[in-house]
């Protein structure tokens, strides 16, 4: 065995004065970091196995454990960073692609943090959402070209109705949905938490490409079913058991890349849900093998609309890439009712690190570009825009909506609410928090009742904050903010960035 060149990333600092050798850490670590020494009754830790998930630190009853980043011993070098060296050591040892999980963690500019929101002063009154009504209900789906109304007489009184039938719409109590995360990539308890929270709060979760588990059929009214390149678990029942259908073309974390769920993870439950033989690899090809043009995409959209009898919105999810605006324009013309755009910071269960960290563009720029392009072409109303790829707070939601989004998807934020500590080791399937794993010993750790409660709390908190910010800006309905870029100002951005975002710099008045 040749010498391993990589050093451990974390250091477990154990306060001996506080450690009572209760072994909670030993029992909770799926990476076998901690070990109880019976001879002298102490717990020892192996730094090299620690992934930095903080499970032991969180559960330690005396607070004796602290996980610290182990400072690199490398000679400082701005070009050859420790990460480059470590990856080369790893690849020289294994000959493989460096895998990682969750979203891009590199210090590219985060445009949300360079955009500021407006508030009312003197000339227009702000609104107190605790005293006055504040509407944040959102509808996702194709809107009519013009508003044509007709008076009708119903049960003895005159009321106004739409002249033509509306296209199918999704009704959201808050402009936030849970992103596509498949059963397989995350545990059934995690999916159950998302499904229950979505149904209790009045929003939607997305099945991802893993099919719909039989236990989740009851949440159909709050489910977006996904059709991806592997077509796992897709049949007429599946399509009709959700409230909307989403065709997945790309994912922000790995644009242009397919997926691979190893056969070891395809247990009986996953195999029946995905409709594939037990133990077989579930491979999602990089492209849909029947989609090579906008016309092909249109065929699939209409095939799905036929299968669901035109009763459900059909959307298309793409990752934010360089030509996202013209692609989105094509998708609208292909007949999609909503477009989901996933920025390059979007999460994943597993992706090659080189792709995750170097491919795609920030969602802020993609969103602004798509919204402007669709407006210029006069087709913005034909489609709803859902954006994803690192929405971290209610402020990001507000800014996204002012930049032109109809709603946002949250994936990472939802998982963090469930306990995720972003250790980026989902691909090992050893998630100590019971989220990204199928190991029955670990999946028990996520009690869906607690998970549901936490997700509902998160949505409740964000709703309050969204209403407060809207009220502060003197707006009483989220519809009035949509695409209202006058409420945004950039700080520390150059002319080009401001022009792509379509916003003024801070200090510039109307």
């Amino acid at each position: 065995m040749a010498l391993k060149l990589n050093q451990s990333e974390f250091e477990i600092v154990r306060d001996k004065g506080k450690c009572i050798s209760c072994q909670v850490c030993v029992r909770q670590c799926s990476n076998d970091v901690h070990e109880y020494d019976e001879d002298d009754g102490t717990v020892l830790s192996d730094n090299s196995k620690c992934v930095g998930c903080h499970r032991c630190e969180t559960l330690c009853p005396t607070g004796s454990i602290k996980i610290k980043r182990r400072e690199s011993e490398f000679k400082s070098n701005a070009n050859w960073t420790a990460e480059h060296l470590k990856n080369i050591y790893k690849q020289a040892e294994t000959g493989g692609v460096v895998l990682t999980s969750m979203g891009c963690d590199k210090p590219y500019p985060v445009y949300w943090d360079h955009i500021l929101f407006n508030a009312s002063q003197v000339t227009n009154p702000s609104i107190d959402p605790l005293r006055e009504p504040m509407e944040i209900k959102t509808f996702i789906g194709r809107k009519p070209d013009r508003l044509e109304l007709k008076p009708v007489r119903e049960s003895g009184s005159n009321i106004i109705r739409f002249k033509n039938n509306l296209e199918p719409q999704l009704e959201l109590s808050v402009p936030v949905l849970f992103s596509a995360m498949s059963y397989g990539s995350i545990s059934l308890n995690a999916v159950k938490s998302l499904a229950k929270a979505a149904s209790e709060f009045g929003t939607f979760y997305n099945t991802g490409e893993g099919g719909l588990h039989k236990d989740l059929r009851g949440y159909g009214n709050n489910t977006i079913v996904q059709v991806a390149s592997g077509r796992f678990g897709v049949d007429k029942d599946y399509l009709n058991s959700g409230a909307a259908v989403e065709i997945k073309i790309g994912q922000g974390a790995k644009p242009g890349i397919g997926g691979h769920l190893p056969g070891e993870k395809v247990n009986y439950d996953v195999s029946t849900t995905r409709m594939i033989p037990e133990g077989s690899d579930a491979i999602s090809p990089a492209p849909h093998h029947d989609i090579y043009s906008i016309e092909d995409l249109s065929q699939l959209i209409y095939a799905l609309k036929e299968a669901t009898e035109y009763k459900k919105p059909v959307g298309v999810k793409i990752s934010a890439v360089h030509n996202v605006a013209p692609i989105a324009s094509g998708i609208v013309r292909a007949g999609a009712d909503f477009i989901s755009i996933d920025g390059f910071r979007g999460g994943t269960g597993a992706a090659p690190q080189v792709i995750r960290d170097n491919v795609g563009i920030p969602i802020e720029l993609a969103l602004a570009a798509v919204d402007i392009r669709l407006r210029e072409e006069g087709i913005r109303h034909k489609v709803s825009l859902i954006v994803a790829g690192s929405i971290r707070s209610s402020a990001d939601v507000i800014k996204a909506i002012a930049l032109g989004a109809d709603a946002v998807y949250i994936g990472t934020a939802a998982l963090v609410a469930l306990g995720c500590h972003l250790c980026q080791k989902c691909y090992t399937s050893k998630c100590n928090w019971g989220i990204a794993t199928q190991d029955p010993y670990l999946t028990k750790r996520l009690n869906p009742e607690i998970g549901t409660r936490k997700l509902i709390n998160l949505l409740t908190a964000w709703s309050h904050e969204i209403k407060e910010m809207l009220g502060g800006a003197g707006i009483n309905a989220i519809e009035s903010l949509r695409g209202n870029r006058e409420h945004l100002r950039g700080v520390g951005l150059n002319e080009k960035e401001l022009s792509i975002l379509g916003i003024k710099h801070a200090g510039e008045a109307w």
Binding site: C22, V24, L59, P61, T62, N447, I450
Partner: protein, 145 residues
């Protein structure tokens, strides 16, 4: 009466219930002092584990408690008002008949001082038993029948 319900599908076998039970029944009631200075504190809740299946079990405070029936000294009593079965350690003579009779195996021999039977007292002086309060995954619930 309120009883402890076990949701074994969410027991993660961390054994924090046992640890906090030990602290509760220590002299100092402080976790560091209890574990560093006191010896042989028994936990009255026990985590049973086979493979990935586990659950924490403590006295069920049976309606028709066999341990009370079996007790020769009158130490084991069921409180008519609260329904809680407790062992009066002053009266207990350590004959272990209760241990023989208990169908759940949740009474233990406490040999630290005088031989007595040690069992769950539902933390009568607390709103919630400490095992329930400290279960990180709500695998133990304290609720009315």
């Amino acid at each position: 009466m309120k009883k402890i319900y076990i949701k074994e599908e969410y027991c993660i076998a961390c054994r924090l219930c046992e640890i906090y039970c030990q602290v509760k029944h220590s002299k100092s009631k402080k976790i560091l002092k209890a574990f560093k200075n006191e010896t042989d504190i028994l936990s009255r809740v026990l985590v049973e584990e086979i493979g990935y299946n586990s659950f924490a079990i403590q006295c069920r405070h049976c309606e028709d408690a066999p341990c009370v029936e079996a007790c020769i000294s009158g130490a084991m009593q069921k409180n008519k008002n609260t329904g809680i079965v407790t062992c009066d350690e002053k009266k207990c003579v350590g004959c272990w008949m209760c241990i023989m009779a208990c169908p759940y195996g949740v009474i233990k021999r406490d040999l630290s001082e005088k031989k007595v039977a040690s069992k769950c007292d539902l933390c009568g002086d607390e709103e919630y038993p400490v095992c329930v309060r400290n279960c990180p995954n709500e695998a133990l619930q304290f609720k009315d029948i």
